[in-house]
Amino acid sequence: MSTGNDRSTGNDIVALAATDEDRTSRPRFYSRILTPAELSLYDELTGEGLSFSSFVWLMWSIKESVYKYVSRAEPGLRFAPLKIPVTSLRRREDHYSGMIGYGPLTLYSRTFLADETIMTVVSAQEDFSNVHWGLRRIENPDYSTQSALVRTFALQSLSMVLPGAELRIIKSPDGPPEVWDGEHRLHMPLSLAHHGPYVAWSYRLPANSSSYRKSAANRAASSHLRRVNLLEITGLKRSCSSCEYSS
């Protein structure tokens, strides 16, 4: 099965307090996001304790993440959630793993839920190798603050992977965010998301980046960044060494 290219990344976050649970549960709403086949995925999750409205937003976050992943190579693509089919969704120990067949692409998703938030990251690789992501809660949820802080936190994360680099994030009005080192654009896809009091990011390191990861591990050990298990903040758990959750 095709795993598509691995030169992109996509993520999304939903702050559940900013959604309307009653409206989300009405067919008029969710039928604009979910196909009948996707609705049946919820039936397969019976007993998992997932509310229907959370399921709808989980699926939305997967589709939005896929849209971001794909639109990097297809500028001008319009977000059409019904045309992004989620073909499977399984409960894992600390996340939901999904599979998406989008045209010739097969993508994989990991979604982390808590009482307050839903965060998804997608990858062309099922093991999410070289994919890093993170989430932070912020005090002021206005748009300009969200936009500024998600860049700040993403740069903090990137600086651990690329110590010494003069990192900047540049985003054109219609394009995805780009990571630059000084005057050089890095081939490191980055995705940013914010909703309500949450901001999140994902990026993918080049496949030959073992030295980056080694540097990251060394720096992480001595980092002055306060790393807090997300369980303490939002009820989420860390799922791997690539994710970071801080407050």
Binding site: V14, A18, I33, A80, Y143
Partner: protein
């Protein structure tokens, strides 16, 4: 219904979903919902449903997918309102 009248009514639909209240009063058909009005994409379905309720119409999925700008919204509404 003239497009100008739809645009004026549309401002009321968009109002709860944008922080850019001042800019909302000066929108035109080229104004982008997400990029210019900073509306979160998670609210786009809300806006479609609110517009449907306001005009007692049903915006089909194809039309909804094309909505990026205020002009797209007006197109989707205008084609469903009886002459």
């Amino acid at each position: 219904m003239e497009r100008r009248a739809i645009l004026d009514e549309l401002k009321k639909v968009l109002y709860p979903y944008t922080e850019e209240k001042e800019q909302l009063q000066n929108i035109d058909e080229n104004t982008a919902l997400v990029k210019d009005l900073k509306i979160n994409s998670a609210n786009l379905v809300d806006i479609i449903i609110d517009a449907e309720a306001k005009y007692n119409i049903e915006i089909d999925f194809d039309s909804a997918e094309k909505i990026i700008s205020v002009g797209d919204c007006i197109n989707a509404i205008a084609e469903k309102i009886p002459e």
